[in-house]
């Protein structure tokens, strides 16, 4: 396996949600609101964390600035960013499937 996308895994929870939010172009504050919403309130992004993530992800070529209006820069995923995100989702699905199988047997054992 020499897929370059795998080098960026695993993403931190914050980065994962930022990439999820950027499937459509959004500016910083839009990303903050969307991430809080789609994570069901579990992940709140501070502006320091988000600005740092934008800088790093742009440098790594996972996102690109698509417009700037009234001092607000909007970003979106690049094709490479989409590949990284998909690779992460595949991993998470394996984790979740294994996890729910174990959770089910633990719960069954716990009720005996």
């Amino acid at each position: 396996m020499t897929d370059k996308a795998l080098r960026y895994l695993p993403l931190t929870e914050a980065t994962y949600y930022i990439l999820l939010a950027l499937v459509e172009p959004l500016h910083g504050y839009g990303v903050m609101q969307k991430v809080e919403q789609i994570s069901q309130g579990a992940v709140r992004l501070g502006p320091g964390t988000l600005y740092g993530a934008f800088t790093t992800l742009e440098k790594q070529g996972l996102i690109v600035m698509v417009s700037e209006q009234e001092r607000r820069k909007s970003y979106a995923l690049t094709p490479f960013g989409r590949r990284v995100l998909l690779a992460q989702i595949d991993r998470l699905q394996v984790m979740a499937r294994r996890g729910s199988a174990v959770a089910a047997s633990l719960k069954a054992a716990g009720t005996e």
Binding site: T12, G28, G46, P47, G48, T49, Y51, T56, R71, R72
Partner: protein, 177 residues
């Protein structure tokens, strides 16, 4: 009514950013001193007013001219007021509101990144001071002035190296594994 101001001097080392945040919050909440401006090497100008619970937070960013407006806008959108900057330290504050986010860094990874941004300049200054100290040791004209210079160079260099170690430890603490 004219704005009453008070000026304080205080020196902080780069690994003391959290102490500095706490100091500024304390002055605002207990003594009604609200930061108006900053100047190197540690001159803080405050407006004298009513005590109010405020959170102060420091980021470290070297901002190129074209990045500055969007950086400040992002913080403003999130409810943070930019009070000023000293070298590359960016000072933000917001009133304490129950249930609102009081951090500008919301995970350990991004906080570690902030400290990683602090390191290169400290390392660079240390190398320059070290080179200066080294050349002063080989000076062929010993004098009291030179002794004093050497001593000062050596002291500052030690404090810088101490700062680098402290920041390195902080980064390690924040990194997983």
């Amino acid at each position: 009514m004219e704005l009453q101001t008070k000026r304080l001097f205080r020196w902080f080392w780069p690994w003391q950013d959290e102490q500095e945040e706490a100091w500024l919050s304390h002055l605002a909440g207990e003594r009604g001193l609200h930061l108006v401006s900053l100047a190197p090497p540690g001159i803080y100008t405050f407006a004298i007013g009513e005590p109010r619970a405020m959170v102060y937070r420091l980021d470290y960013q070297y901002l190129k001219g074209q990045d500055r407006p969007s950086y400040l806008q992002l913080f403003r959108d999130a409810g943070w007021e930019h009070v000023g900057q000293m070298s590359n330290w960016q000072y933000f504050r917001r009133p304490v509101v129950e249930g609102e986010e009081n951090e500008i860094f919301t995970d350990p990874a991004s906080k570690a990144e902030k400290y990683r941004r602090v390191l290169p300049l400290l390392v660079l200054i240390s190398i320059l001071l070290g080179a200066q100290l080294r050349s002063s040791l080989y000076s062929r004209w010993p004098s009291t002035g030179l002794e004093v210079t050497r001593f000062l160079l050596f002291s500052v260099l030690m404090l810088l190296i101490y700062s680098i170690v402290r920041i390195g430890l902080r980064i390690r603490q924040l990194s997983p594994g």
